[in-house]
Symmetry: C2
DNA sequence: GTCGTTTTTAAACGCAGTTTAAAACAAAAA
DNA sequence: TTTTTGTTTTAAACTGCGTTTAAAAACGAC
């Protein structure tokens, strides 16, 4: 018998498991309380609301996963190598953590106006260093000049959206889960190739 | 079997307006009933559930908008021209109907497993004709051989995802709504250019 | 052991979507 | 016209949700 964790942790852990397993909306507070073995009202005592509990869990999940992504963007790699690594790591992260996608979708759908309040999600966006690098390489003539915002949105879209429409892709192509995994795997090469080809100066 | 089409229509119209205005989740059945000027229980009488009402509205909205997209994919245009038109029309459609995006997000988030049941959403995906065209042009050597599924997912991602992360983009770039509209407008050229550049055979 | 604070509890609140059973209604049958 | 039949509408209640309340219990410092 392990030493009993404190109540807050028990709620956090039970909720995380349930949220990932069946989605936020389909998980009731009463269910969380039962699984955590605590009284119903304690969820509101420790986290002010279910929404808040969700945010706490999401933030921790994003934080854990986004550090490596930011490290890549802020590194001194060449733009090409940076894009290749970023795409690869991001895709790995979403592959291993498919429910992170659900979480992000839930957030984007849930609070479109209040998205800036979700500081965590910002960690999944471009950094200043990346922006500067794109501008400078363009100025130096190493790549085509391009709006860094557009480039980053391109990259993010190509990486993330296929996960969001996973079921649609599976259905339309009669894919097995393995097929879909292979489909995604191929994108690790495809996406950087496409982006870099776009940036390459034509003579 | 002659139902008063009047009441059903009133519910449908009121719900459509409210769903688009404030989102499905933030619209209560009681609110719909009030706006439609009907009794609360009639929503369940005509549509079995709120979820079902949502599906009916969504299907009609998608149907109305997707016909032109399918017509383009099934046309006899060249692949390049087809891509250009498809991107342009799709972006226009999402721009003019930003809540279609919310709807799609809601669906993707709501029922990831049961997505095939939502036949309407299939209308937003590739057609057989498009797939064949990509394969044939590749075989003929007019373009690089490429997996049509990948190409279509690329295109769809680049078109749709920026709308999904609209608030994030606005926040990160300190955009006004006009700025965002311009940002999207630029993608009408950028996306086809990128895709066609990828398909162009290099000598 | 007492006091003040923190934690836990049972119960209830308000709102959501939904169901029920009776009433109102319209059109066909007598 | 009156009766019957089936559809449409209604008020009320049901279940389950997230949340709040106020009192009880547990705890820690003195």
């Amino acid at each position: 018998m392990t030493r009993s964790r404190n109540t807050e942790q028990k709620i956090f852990d039970a909720a995380t498991e349930l949220f990932l397993e069946k989605g936020v909306d389909r998980t009731s507070v009463r269910e969380i309380a039962t699984k955590a073995g605590i009284n119903l009202a304690l969820m509101n005592y420790y986290f002010r609301s279910k929404e808040n509990l969700f945010n706490a869990i999401f933030s921790s999940l994003v934080k854990k996963n986004s550090e490596e992504l930011i490290r890549i963007l802020d590194s001194d790699l060449s733009l090409e190598e940076k894009i290749r690594q970023y795409v690869e790591v991001y895709i790995d992260m979403l592959s291993e953590n498919p429910l992170l996608v659900s979480f992000v979708m839930a957030i984007l759908h849930r609070s479109r106006e209040r998205i800036t309040e979700m500081k965590a999600i910002s960690n999944l966006y471009a950094t200043e260093k990346f922006t500067q690098q794109v501008l400078e390489e363009g100025k130096k003539g190493n790549i085509n000049r391009t709006d860094p915002s557009q480039l980053f949105v391109d990259m993010l879209s190509l990486i993330a959206f296929p996960f969001a429409i996973k079921m649609l892709v599976i259905d339309k192509n009669n894919f097995s889960n393995k097929d879909f995994a292979d489909f995604i795997l191929e994108r690790k090469k495809r996406i950087p190739d496409m982006l870099i080809e776009m940036l390459r100066k034509k003579s």
